[in-house]
């Protein structure tokens, strides 16, 4: 470490302080902002009494005001509270229960049919909400009691719910992809399109696993005692229950993909549509609207607080030469482009154990974007997708982060699920249940890594002439 410039010590100090302070449990946003301000002070002192030359002083912190204002006037991110509203409102509309009820009848004759139903609904929920907490909790509340009653293997039931609930963050519309698009400077539309195949592949892998499991160990995925044949009425009911949310999903995604509407417009229309749906199911009144409205504010605010904290941290880090240091460290490792990407994904995966996707997207992506762009990767954008290597990279990170939600000890989804489990279900049961699904996630990740066309082909077709 002798060859380091004096500023590098500031960068290293900043990162270590940040990580240490994180574990005190003080809110992440304020740890980011506070570490930034603290190190601005440190840098000022080392400029004057040591040999650094960052040029930071109290006056230069005024730049932060403009940077925070830049988050306020970001028209891409306007979609974020809208999608959150849409997700929370759909939750209130009772769409998911209706689908659960009718699809359960449809798949009642298949071993593992209930679990497959959960996965399918996970996919549909994913496409409509994209809020992990919402999907996991909803799926858990709807299906766990039934699965327990049907004497499903506990681990299989829990794993299915946790994994399916996490699809929402990947399958568009996804607030995570909105943020990634903003941070990497790539089209949100490309990311949405690019996420469709990886998301579906994961869903299909889950279902295949459940089917095979049901065949090999039928006693662990039993049929309901009262199961009967599928009637035409059942099939009709399924369609009736699926059509309204399907229309909403296609209206939102279709209008974005076909270039009819901007992401913001689609998100606003989606939020409105969700309210209409709730009203159609007689679940809409002032109390519901008020609750959804305030929760929308609450949820988007804690996300944006991290934006604010991260912009403070990033400025001071940058002024201390952090960008250059990270770039030189990453490119100086001699890993080669693909080795570097694997390294980066491993780091993201590890960070995912204790950091949320929001912090990871906001802190890591802006630092990595230029490095990845500079690798000169030959990813085919079919002449349509701009920066195909970044779109591909973003989806790799997205799948990795999604995996980390499931990863013990502290994956997001596991805690959400624990919150809605009967008391006798221990965290260890959940841990056991998600292991096969984590492996499936890694298979999905490997597929996306080996076949970038899974990501870039669809946006190219959608936006090509």
């Amino acid at each position: 470490m002798m060859g380091l410039e004096p500023e590098s010590w500031l960068v290293i100090g900043m990162f270590s302080t940040f990580i240490l302070l994180l574990f005190t449990g003080f809110p992440v946003a304020w740890v980011l902002a506070g570490t930034g301000i603290l190190f601005a002070g440190v840098a000022y002192l080392t400029d004057n009494y040591w040999e650094t030359a960052t040029g930071i002083d109290y006056n230069s912190l005024g730049l932060l005001v403009g940077r925070i204002y830049d988050i306020m006037n970001n028209w891409v991110l306007v979609a974020l509270p809208m999608f959150i509203f849409m997700g929370l409102m759909l939750d209130k509309s009772g769409v998911a229960e209706r689908m659960m009820h009718s699809m359960q009848k449809l798949f009642g004759n298949v071993k593992g049919g209930l679990a497959i139903t959960v996965t399918l609904i996970g996919i549909i929920l994913a496409a409509s909400t994209g809020i992990i907490g919402a999907s996991v909790v909803l799926l858990g509340v709807m299906s766990l009691p039934v699965m327990m009653k049907q004497r499903y293997n506990k681990s299989l039931a829990l794993g299915t719910v946790a994994a399916s609930g996490c699809l929402g963050i990947l399958i568009p519309p996804s607030i995570m992809l909105v943020i990634m698009g903003d941070q990497l400077g790539v089209s949100v539309g490309d990311l949405f399109m690019g996420a469709v195949f990886p998301g579906l592949i994961l869903g299909v892998l889950y279902m295949a696993y459940i089917l095979i499991y049901g065949l090999l160990r039928p006693e662990d995925a039993p049929l309901a005692n009262d199961h009967r044949g599928v009637t035409w009425a059942d099939i009709g009911r399924v369609f009736l229950d699926i059509i309204p949310p399907a229309i909403l999903i296609f209206a939102v995604l279709g209008s974005i993909f076909m270039g009819i509407a901007t992401v913001t417009e689609a998100s606003g229309v989606g939020a409105f549509g969700a309210a209409v749906l709730a009203a159609a199911y007689k679940r809409f009144d002032f109390a519901v609207l008020k609750e959804v409205t305030i929760n929308t504010m609450n949820t988007s605010a804690y996300i944006f607080a991290i934006f604010v904290g991260a912009t403070v941290f990033a400025l001071v880090l940058r002024e201390c030469g952090g960008d250059e240091l990270i770039e030189s460290v990453l490119t100086g490792m001699g890993l080669g482009p693909y080795g570097l990407i694997i390294f980066v994904l491993s780091v993201v995966f590890l960070l995912g154990f204790f950091l949320d996707w929001i912090e990871i997207s906001l802190i890591i992506l802006p630092l990595l974007g230029p490095v990845i762009k500079g690798l000169g990767l030959d990813i085919d954008g079919y002449g349509v997708v701009d920066n195909p290597e970044l779109v591909w990279f973003a989806l790799l990170v997205a799948v990795t982060l999604q995996t980390s939600f499931l990863t013990p000890p502290v994956g997001f989804a596991l805690f959400y699920l624990k919150g809605v489990c009967p008391p006798e279900v221990k965290l260890v049961d959940i841990y056991k249940g998600v292991v096969p699904f984590i492996l499936l996630q890694l298979v999905g990740l490997a597929l996306v890594f080996i076949f970038p066309a899974l990501v870039t082909w669809l946006p190219a077709v959608a936006y090509g002439n």
Binding site: V31, A33, G34, Y69, M72, G268, F272, D356, P422
Partner: protein, 220 residues
């Protein structure tokens, strides 16, 4: 991390309740801007596709509305204690340690940040007012200092919320207030609150079908 649920002081410390009340009332009012935002987006969509006409003013209005809602929301999250935390270690230390962490965090990390931004933002808004800044689009909104003014306003609200928390934590550390009842690890509590989930009730009768469970939750 967690989205800790509100640890309501429940009328224990009047000044804290007063400050939190101000913050929450203003923020909950601002929350409705998201509903207005939906309306504005719908109108601009109708305007665009129905009348083939774009209104730059409406497009600018969208981010004005979203910005005010989330900026005040950040203060709300301080009062409501719903900012994301890494609670791995946090939930395994004593109450006393948690109070000390909270006090040091507010004094060393949060307050210096809030105060330096608030300080710089005042002259920033004043300058925008002095030149009567308007949108850089010719037909955009005038008087940009109004929306810029919401930045210091929101930071002032955050400062109030932070002070309320500081007072509360100090008093609790000194045993001058009543500790809130023991809570689940933060994020679980948040989810339960957010979705009105009562797992115990859910599983009390294993035969509860999903539909009626749902009604229980609705009635909460």
């Amino acid at each position: 991390m967690s989205h800790s649920a509100s640890k309501k002081s429940g009328g224990r410390i009047p000044v804290v309740d007063m400050l939190n009340g101000v913050v929450k009332r203003i923020a909950e009012l601002a929350a409705w801007l998201n509903v207005v935002l939906i309306g504005v987006i719908i109108i601009s969509v109708i305007w665009r596709y129905g009348f083939n006409n774009a209104l730059v003013e409406l497009e600018e209005l969208t981010w004005h509305l979203y910005a005010v809602a989330f900026m005040f929301g950040i203060a709300y999250c301080i009062s409501n204690d719903s900012h994301i935390r890494v609670d791995l270690v946090h939930m395994n230390v004593s109450r006393r340690t948690q109070h000390i962490i909270e006090i040091l965090g507010i004094v060393i990390l949060l307050l210096p940040f809030l105060i330096s931004i608030l300080d710089h933002s005042l002259s920033w808004v004043a300058d925008s007012y002095r030149v009567d800044e308007h949108s850089s689009s010719p037909t955009g909104l005038p008087h940009r200092w109004i929306i810029k003014g919401f930045l210091p306003a929101a930071f002032f609200l955050m400062l109030l919320a932070a002070l309320a928390r500081l007072i509360q934590e100090v008093l609790l550390l000194l045993h001058l207030g009543t500790e809130p009842e023991e809570l689940d690890p933060g994020r679980v509590t948040m989810i339960k609150k957010l979705f009105h989930v009562h797992p115990e009730a859910l599983y009390r009768d294993a035969d509860v079908p999903a539909e009626s469970t749902r009604k229980d939750r609705q009635g909460d």
